[in-house]
């Protein structure tokens, strides 16, 4: 019975990793964007 839930568990784990990666990259983009804006002001 527990094995039956394995495919759904795998999808959930992948979703968590994908969301973490997307949020982390958003943070990097935001930092890079702010740096570019700061350079442009100078």
């Amino acid at each position: 019975m527990i094995v039956g839930a394995l495919p759904f568990t795998i999808v959930m784990v992948l979703m968590v990793i994908a969301l973490s990666k997307a949020l982390f990259r958003d943070g990097l983009r935001e930092k890079a964007g702010n740096a570019i804006l700061a350079d442009a002001k100078i």
Binding site: M12, L14, A18, L19, K21, A22, L23, R25
Partner: protein, 238 residues
């Protein structure tokens, strides 16, 4: 009592909400920040690039639909039976039950009528949108919950329930990791009967079979613990 609270918290506490939040947050994030469709495959794009547009995406979406169907069917299956029991307890309408006075169970007609009523309400709620049907139902649900809580506070043993609630919550947090990784394996009927408290040994075999059935069900804590908790809350504890 401790076990009832522990498993009720496990099934309806942080563990359950973690699953809802992960799915909801992933879908909402891609839909509202990237204008992508509200599908499970969308959530995997940062990990697999364009691969979810093909067979992998179909597989993931099919799994999502199957999980939804299984979840909804279990909820509606138990909900319909409880609804019929509840309406019969309040109204005494005979045709809802099978006519067996010693062990009344919902009749097929009663179950089908309740299923039709629930499905109609849920379809109406879904097609009317979040701003109308779902909002009204959510508000009604909240108001009824508050009325139920006030009923317990006024007519039940509120101090006892709150003490148990606090103890149960602490117990749940202390056993959080252990419960998270515990693989549930139901006991055999014989072992279950042997492990019951001695005071319960005098119960008829049908009652013990009924308790075993509830305790080994995936919805065990709901079927057994919640009615017991409600009963205890409404009864004065000496």
């Amino acid at each position: 009592m401790q076990s009832a609270y522990r498993y009720t918290f496990l099934h309806f506490g942080f563990h359950a909400w973690a699953i809802y939040v992960t799915t909801g947050l992933a879908l909402a994030y891609y839909a509202y920040t990237r204008d992508m469709p509200l599908t499970i495959r969308t959530a995997l794009i940062p990990l697999f690039g364009k691969a979810p547009n093909g067979a992998l995406g179909h597989l993931v979406d099919v799994l999502g639909v199957v999980a939804t169907i299984l979840g909804v069917s279990a909820t509606i299956g138990f909900g319909v039976s409880q609804l019929v029991d509840g309406i019969y307890a309040v109204s005494g309408v005979e045709w809802l039950m099978n006519g067996d006075a010693t062990a009344p169970k919902p009749s097929t007609v009663g179950l089908l009528a309740a299923l039709f009523a629930i499905m109609s309400m849920s379809i109406l709620s879904a097609i009317s949108g979040v701003a109308r049907g779902i909002k009204y139902l959510s508000n009604l649900n909240l108001v009824l919950s508050i009325i139920l809580l006030i009923t317990f506070v006024v007519f039940g043993s509120f101090l006892f329930s709150m003490t148990q609630f606090g103890l149960g919550l602490v117990d749940y947090i202390l056993h959080f990791v252990q419960l998270s990784f515990h693989a549930y394996g139901p006991q055999s009927a014989e072992n279950f009967s042997a492990s019951l408290p001695t005071a319960m040994n005098s119960l008829p075999a049908e009652d013990i079979a009924s308790i075993y059935s509830g305790a080994t069900s995936a919805w065990g804590s709901l079927v057994i613990a919640v009615p017991n908790l409600i009963h205890l809350m409404l009864c004065e504890i000496p």
